[in-house]
């Protein structure tokens, strides 16, 4: 019986790095099983063996993706029971957290989100109040459900490969009765840039851009970075709302955060102050962002950013 069950939703042709991180973390806590939704290709099966997974579960139905959250939670609850798992790991996406939430109620299990590390005794570590505190938390229930943030574990295959067995889990017939149905979905045009939440480098722009995100985008592309924005910039319609970093947007903790033309009010700080290195460019020497910047430039971003972009291109050859 596996004691750690990892949920991987639509693994695709190859496992994402965040999935490999979950498999590695899970193995550090015990014997691992995986509950998959969606197609299971040979490359993914091989990766499960490399990472020492003992069992793989698949749902008896193919339409879980047509429903919001509730149906996947019902499937996962059945898989946890089949595996006899005491720890369940999911990714920390909005959907991952909501599946965890409903699963927790179904299993009478405590749920901890935004986890960055887990000790052998099950203690989970996370940061709260926009990174101003780090806390340790535990569940008080027989089963623990944890959603784990990306980029906190180095993926590592097992010492020897396993030969996982695949089992089909009967999804309860009533699993879709309390679920909203997705009636249409349109893919957005991909930017080709990394995902903002997981990006190693983020270049963000604010009010100081005055409607022109060009310099920010060009610097981001030279660095292979994601593009972020302050609320002032997204509210002004200069860039998509998805790019907002801050209290009412996304929380990012990249290796490097370059803030351009953002004053750095507390709402913006809440979304980025756990970045490892912060660089700020702003005309106003009084901007609060300079209080937290490791390297600050008082100057015109329309001069500084293009110059930096050219210099990076030159050095990268």
């Amino acid at each position: 019986m596996a004691n750690v069950l990892i949920f991987i939703d639509n693994p695709g042709a190859a496992l994402k790095k965040s999935s490999l991180e979950l498999l590695t973390l899970g193995r550090s806590l015990g014997e691992t099983a995986v509950a998959v939704n969606g197609d299971l290709g040979s490359g993914v099966s091989a990766a499960f063996a490399d990472y020492g997974v003992s069992s793989v579960y698949r749902p008896s139905v193919q339409d879980l993706d047509d429903y919001l959250v509730a149906a996947k939670a019902a499937y996962l609850a059945a898989a946890v029971q089949a595996a006899g798992a005491t720890t369940v790991l999911l990714d920390n996406s909005p959907e991952g957290k909501e599946i965890a939430a409903r699963l927790g109620i179904r299993l009478s299990a405590g749920v901890i989100t935004d986890v960055v590390a887990v000790d052998q005794d099950g203690t989970a570590h996370k940061s709260v109040l926009a990174g101003s505190y780090t806390t340790a938390a535990k569940t008080t229930t027989p089963v623990s459900v944890l959603t784990v943030k990306a980029n906190n574990v180095a993926p590592e295959p097992a010492a020897g490969p396993s030969a996982p067995e695949t089992t089909t889990i009967d999804v309860p017939a009533d699993s879709t009765s309390a679920a909203a149905r997705i009636t249409s979905r349109e893919q957005k045009v991909a930017s080709g840039r990394p995902d903002l939440t997981d990006a190693r480098i983020v270049v963000a722009g604010g009010r100081g851009l005055d409607g022109d995100f060009g310099p920010v985008e060009q610097l981001a592309d030279a660095l292979g970075a994601a593009v972020g924005a302050s609320r002032a910039a997204t509210d002004a319609g200069w860039i998509s709302h998805d790019a907002q970093v801050g209290q009412t947007g996304k929380t990012v903790s990249p290796q490097l955060y370059i803030s351009a033309g953002i004053s750095g009010a507390i709402q913006q700080k809440a979304g980025m102050q756990t970045a490892k290195v912060i660089v700020a460019v702003n005309k106003d020497a009084e901007s609060p962002v300079f209080e937290i910047a490791d390297f600050g430039i008082i100057g015109d971003l329309f001069d500084v950013l293009p110059q930096a972009t050219e210099e990076i291109k030159k050095r990268k050859g």
Partner: protein, 270 residues
């Protein structure tokens, strides 16, 4: 439109995010000294008011009930909601509630919603996209599971017709339309509308609206099911992160872009 709606809006009082926030006391709970109506809950209230007004408002029998759970300060979130136009206010408060995690909070809220739906059933439960303090975003989904209802989170538009709802959801890589039958639990984003400010008439009218106070015994919940005792998670330690300190600040003298790249190279970030 013939139908009238009975909508419960969950409103929360949270520490003002414009000030520093702290974890205090037993169980490391958030200090709510300077609390306000969560900005994100105003969008939920506005969405409820618009749905009710499109059906003739309170006069036609539509109900918009603002429900807040928490200590005495939570009543301020209810008062503000009444000023904006909610038809009724409910304050769920009990000495056993503080320290409740998402599971215990959703248990108490589910019981309160069942209590409020005892006469005429509730059609919709609306919430903001997140609380600005706990930030776990678990409560709407856990509430839906406890009530056995569909959930639609992060709705950027919401229409209700003939016992069904249609909502639009925007994710980073896709947009989608979803449908669910009522009753349902819906959380709305800050893109769905522009919340109104209470006007003078609203403020005067709010003074005449009653706020019902409910305790755990009113809604049939045992004190052991909530608070620290009833929670399924416990915070074992909390450490304040050392504040960031300012590093090198330079003024551009025509070569700051180059210096920026020098800094990145020295930090091995190129």
């Amino acid at each position: 439109m013939e139908e009238t709606l009975k909508i419960i809006v969950l409103v929360k009082h949270v520490p003002d995010t414009q000030f520093d926030r702290h974890l205090n006391g037993e169980g490391y709970t958030t200090d709510r000294g300077e609390s306000i109506l969560s900005e994100l809950d105003e969008y939920a209230l506005e969405a409820a008011l618009q749905l009710a007004e499109a059906r003739g408002g309170g006069k036609a029998g539509n109900q918009v009930i603002a429900l807040s759970m928490g200590p005495s300060g939570a009543v301020n979130a209810v008062k503000k909601s009444l000023q904006m136009g909610a038809t009724e206010g409910v304050h769920l408060t009990d000495d056993a509630l503080p320290g409740s995690d998402a599971a215990a909070t959703s248990l108490a809220l589910a019981a309160a919603i069942r209590h409020l739906g005892a006469g005429a059933p509730v059609d919709l439960v609306l919430t903001g996209m997140a609380s600005t303090d706990g930030e776990t975003s678990l409560v709407p989904a856990q509430l839906a599971e406890r009530l056995g209802l569909p959930q639609v989170t992060f709705a950027s538009s919401l229409e209700v017709d003939g016992g069904r709802l249609t909502a639009r959801r925007d994710a980073d890589t896709y947009s989608e339309t979803v449908e669910a039958s009522l009753p349902a639990v819906v959380s709305v984003t800050d893109q769905i509308n522009e919340p109104r400010y209470p006007n003078f008439k609203g403020i005067i009218a709010a003074k005449r609206k009653s706020i019902t106070t409910l305790s755990l015994s009113d809604i049939g919940v045992d004190p052991s099911q909530v608070g620290h005792a009833g929670s399924w998670t416990t915070v074992t330690s909390a450490e304040e992160r050392p504040p960031r300190t300012a590093g090198t600040i330079i003024t551009d003298e025509g070569d700051a872009g180059i210096k920026l790249v020098d800094f990145l190279a020295a930090q091995k970030l190129l």
